[in-house]
């Protein structure tokens, strides 16, 4: 996802001198081309996330579109008050970009795992939360973000998959349907999408047909797609490399309950009041925390019993 993000950023920034990119001393070598092409639009503010958000805020008040970049937890948790009081309250044109969403940093440990960021960013007024599920969605999300004003949170993960369908055009805010089926809906945020698609394809071979939905924009949420899923399919499973508290599971639950379409069968897959404290690579962690295709298949079968 990151390569696509940088490519789009570079293209947009070249033609829009008001775009400014700040990093909290992260992104070794990966921004070299951007720096070459847009040298006056890049700034390493140092390992100082509160400073970074403040500087971004000050520049945005002066009319710039400012991106801040770091590993998810570093800027959004350390500088959460700056994001809330400065960026969101002022509806500033600041884009918060995270790398390594979910278990992306694997063996680096829980300090680097972004497993509550979606819940917290989603709770902030005026914040748009982008959660692309693969490289193609990340490009679309980045393009939309860079062409629109206001606070955005973009969670980038490690995925090189391109799920674009023939002639498909990226539509901001619209949940994408990647498989159809009436037995269940499998709905996810972020790159765990690949596990969901795999699970759906294996289930289909066993005559269990699932609708697969990718929520590349967690906020604002596409309510219609969720309501349709609740009405048209036999149940809903939400899947996220995030806490189930306040993330996708909560979002889908809220939409269903508020619209009186409480799904007949419903379950949430994600972290439940725990840290991802086990050491392992992202694949291992997905397996351990029961978020891989195997776990999704088992959950689907259990739900349909």
């Amino acid at each position: 996802m990151r390569d696509g993000f940088i490519k789009v950023l570079t293209e947009v920034a070249k033609n829009n001198p008001e775009v400014m990119f700040l990093t909290g001393d992260l992104g070794f070598k990966i921004f070299d081309n951007f720096i070459t092409q847009c040298p006056k639009q890049f700034l390493n503010v140092g390992v100082a996330e509160q400073s970074m958000l403040g500087v971004a805020m000050g520049m945005s008040l002066e009319g710039r579109r400012v991106l801040v970049y770091s590993i998810a937890n570093f800027h959004i948790f350390r500088a959460l008050e700056q994001i809330r009081n400065d960026v969101c309250y002022h509806e500033a044109d600041v884009k918060i970009v995270s790398t390594g969403g979910g278990f992306g940093y694997g063996t680096a440990g829980m300090s680097h795992h972004a497993t509550e960021d979606l819940s917290i960013m989603r709770a902030l007024p005026h914040m748009t939360v982008l959660t692309p599920g693969d490289a193609w969605e990340a490009i679309g999300a980045t393009q939309f973000m860079l062409n629109n004003k206001g606070p955005f949170y973009l969670s980038l993960e490690k995925s090189n998959i391109n799920s674009q369908k023939i002639d498909e055009v990226f539509e901001f805010g619209k949940i994408r349907q990647l498989r159809d089926g009436a037995d269940l809906t499998l709905i996810s945020v972020g790159s765990v999408l690949s596990e969901v698609v795999l699970a759906a394809d294996i289930l289909a071979k066993e005559n269990i047909f699932c609708r697969v939905l990718s929520v590349h924009c967690l906020k604002p949420i596409d309510q219609d797609a969720i309501i349709r899923a609740a009405k048209e399919t036999g149940g809903i499973i939400t899947i996220e490399e995030n806490s189930i508290f306040g993330g996708l599971g909560s979002t889908v639950s809220e939409v269903c309950m508020e619209n009186n379409v409480g799904s007949k069968k419903f379950t949430m897959m994600g972290l439940r009041n725990e840290f991802s404290a086990i050491v392992g690579d992202p694949t291992y962690l997905r397996h351990y925390y029961k978020l891989d295709s195997e776990a999704i298949i088992a959950k689907a079968k259990k739900l349909l019993k």
Binding site: K40, L43, V45, G46, A48, Q50, S51, L53, G54, V55, A56, M57, G58, M59, S60, L61, E62, R64, V66, E81, Q82, N85, D86, Y89, H90
Partner: protein
């Protein structure tokens, strides 16, 4: 222009606002009234009819709890009608106790949580330098605010980028929320700290109007480094019983006889 009279008018206005709203922080506000008066009436390049004028000097009140002081100053300066201040802290009002920019002409930034103003001022200052703009950025911090780590992250940034269009003013009344700064987290040697971060540092009497004006004028001309003005102030300045019990008046508003006595002293 009699800035002393203007400052007293602002104090009287704040006394009334905080009395009617029964809102706190009057001593913190009185501490900065002279600084803010000189800025708005002598230093800042402004257009009250066009508050977003691109070439204006920017002022950020980082100690947002003194918002009433800035609201009163903006009204006195002509940004909006002083009668609007009667709504201060009333239900449905736009004037919150901690300064808000929403629908209030002249306010650059909403603050309230400490440690936010200087990083934002840095962004404004760096942006002005990148755009080769001439205006200056002033930011007013409290002393207790300097306990915040974000202030020192920002101080590093300002020094590193040689933001000579930035003027940091510290309201050094030596009392923070519930105790003396020297008893909580001693800021001394305060001047040396800012110097070591690359600032041109000036110490002044924060209630001496001539000294303030001279110091601000000089700061505007400083080249190659940001300026930090450590303004020695008196919390509750202007009302003897507030000056005598500085901590208490961080939390109180003057009511009844207290109000009358304070008003008499400010006359």
């Amino acid at each position: 222009m009699d800035t002393k009279k203007i400052a007293q008018n602002i104090r009287k206005r704040v006394l009334k606002m905080t009395c009617e709203a029964q809102s706190p922080h009057i001593s913190s506000i009185f501490s900065i009234v002279d600084i803010v008066t000189i800025l708005y009436f002598k230093i800042l390049n402004l257009d009250t009819q066009n508050p977003r004028w691109l070439k204006r000097d920017r002022f950020i009140l980082s100690k947002g709890h003194a918002g009433a002081g800035v609201y009163a100053t903006l009204a006195e300066r002509g940004f909006f009608d002083v009668n609007e201040l009667d709504n201060y802290c009333k239900n449905g009002s736009k004037f919150s106790g901690h300064i808000s920019h929403k629908n209030i002409p002249g306010v650059e930034l909403s603050t309230g949580a400490l440690g936010h103003g200087l990083p934002v001022a840095n962004g404004m200052a760096l942006n002005a330098k990148l755009n080769q703009q001439e205006h200056k950025i002033f930011v007013l911090l409290s002393d207790g605010e300097c306990d915040e780590g974000s202030v020192w992250e920002a101080a590093l940034f300002a020094g590193h980028h040689k933001l000579d269009n930035l003027v940091v003013i510290i309201d050094y009344n030596k009392i923070q929320c519930i105790a003396k700064t020297q008893d909580v987290l001693d800021l001394e040697p305060f001047v040396d700290k800012w110097k070591s971060f690359g600032f041109m540092v000036k110490e002044i009497d924060g209630h001496d109007h001539e000294a303030l004006e001279g110091c601000f004028m000089e700061a505007k001309q400083t080249k190659g480094q940001p300026t930090c003005i450590i303004a020695h102030t008196i919390k509750g300045k202007g009302v003897s019983f507030m000056e005598n019990d500085k901590i208490l008046w961080h939390f109180r508003s003057a009511q009844g006889e207290e109000y009358d006595c304070a008003l008499k002293e400010l006359a």
